[in-house]
Symmetry: C2
Subunit: 356 residues, 2 copies
Amino acid sequence: MKKHNFSAGPSILSPYTIKNTADGIMDLNNSGLSVMEISHRSKDFMAIMDETQQLFVELLDIPTGYSVLLLQGGASMQFCMIPYNLLKTKAAYLDTGAWANKAVKEAKLFGDVDVVASSKDTTYSYIPKGYAIPSDVDYFHITTNNTIYGTEIKEDMDSPVNLVADMSSDIFSRPVDVSKYALIYGGAQKNLAPAGVTFVIVKDDILGNMDRAIPTMLDYRTHIDKGSMFNTPPCVSIYAAMHTLRWYKEQGGVAAMYKLNMEKAGMLYDEIERNSVFTSGIGDEADRSIMNVTFVMKDEYKEKEADFLAFAIGRGMSGIKGHRSVGGFRASIYNAMPKSSVEALIDTMKDFEKSL
Amino acid sequence: MKKHNFSAGPSILSPYTIKNTADGIMDLNNSGLSVMEISHRSKDFMAIMDETQQLFVELLDIPTGYSVLLLQGGASMQFCMIPYNLLKTKAAYLDTGAWANKAVKEAKLFGDVDVVASSKDTTYSYIPKGYAIPSDVDYFHITTNNTIYGTEIKEDMDSPVNLVADMSSDIFSRPVDVSKYALIYGGAQKNLAPAGVTFVIVKDDILGNMDRAIPTMLDYRTHIDKGSMFNTPPCVSIYAAMHTLRWYKEQGGVAAMYKLNMEKAGMLYDEIERNSVFTSGIGDEADRSIMNVTFVMKDEYKEKEADFLAFAIGRGMSGIKGHRSVGGFRASIYNAMPKSSVEALIDTMKDFEKSL
């Protein structure tokens, strides 16, 4: 039976990425060596690193004056690196979920943190609006997509201060105006590569103004100076990322991905609205994520939750159980998720409705 | 032509590791999913994480009271994490090479550093001896194998203070008495896995005595508490590591690896001594690494260096050029290097000698 991989992360990657990564592990470019066992300073690996960074620039239309870094440690390490490099006295954060919260916690070790708005009161079921970004802070931090809750900030906002965004789970899902951001970062394990590589897109001129001593590995300038090769990079994850980006380019780039994502998400939200058994947990349509579609049983069907899960698993749906903190269901429909899998989930929802 | 992979790192991995990693990338345990695209909280991945940590304990005979952590960032990140977690006022370091030096540099950001001895005067061609480890320091840091120079501390020393060792390039190459160490760490890309995972073996009771605030991701206690799953781990590198460790176990464990390594290194050092063209750069036999065998042309053949390199490449020898800071040649003969490749290198050296 075909598996439909709705896992929230690590998550579905394209068959192109999977096949090419496996091939490179067996034998890289007919070199007789595996991509796992060659020097990161070899010509073969340098070409992989260069192409991956170049594809970031090309696909996201990154302006000059920005660097693309491929690091380790995930978004969680960035929660500490960002204030280490940028927080002089005070920073502002938007609290839209568990990950935003963790970012706040780390920033507090380095200075004052102004949480400008929070939707914690409703377990983060919406994106706060109507707040003002303070103009006296070192930067304003947002989490554009909130994987657990299924909410997303889908437009690039104007900010009077340096705008820093965690785009772990929606990078490459829609066109982004990079020039509006000072720093964009994320773990790779949604729309890019297997876990193990972390991307940072940073505007060079925001760095270097700190008084505190920054450990070498935590200083963005180290990695800019050394082209992300200060120490051995996570070669296999970067190799896989290169293939994902090549595939995006071949598919028509981020604009094509966005079109497909809007279609997939639209179909699924339409079914959630139509189906008498389910409802969206996200009231405001504008806040609904096009990457993680969350839904719950309507009150009168609450006791059928385990039944639907078993029914869906029986139809090859993998990873649709909602996060334990919110319950219900979550279908993560990242870039690599084909429309046919979303259709299969919709059919499953319809058939479950009929079976009652 | 068969390639003999003498790369210093990332470096040779066993065909068992390569084949099984590629297979798991195509389809993990017949699940229909790639090991790259499953949740790290899935039963399948939890089993991989557990087995890998358990094999560390079993193969290195790690006593109770120690934790095995699988992190990110390489040894370079440990250079900063170690003082962050352990340096209260003063630490002692042994300066045996470029990596030891980098570790010293980071530690200085956190407190006083006493470099007890250094072999920098001869470009690190020996391991300093006759120094005293101070008893008034928080820990004593050593680098057991110096990849660039080909020197190695092959015996577990007694230390009056917590002993911290970078074993990036000789872990699993010989039996280690872990109980003599407070912390052992290293990047994976020599004897374990592709780059991207960092192991830390830490005695639990040395932690938790610091006054300074430690960022969550840099605090060893975070990763002990969460079983190295505080955030998404580098799943593919860990999966590859598990296979390497399974293969070590099947081969007879670390004792068997040590026996083979002594044979391989012995053969190669014997040829260097015998051959009229080459000489070892490491004067004291006791200091010679069994992982990285460095050698240079004798003075009268100095101008033949490029010739030998071309000759060796023509015979399938890959990665034997010495590090730019020392010149000459370096054959890295890590655990996965078969004796037949060392024999092929020896034949190449003999044939080159005959050709002159």
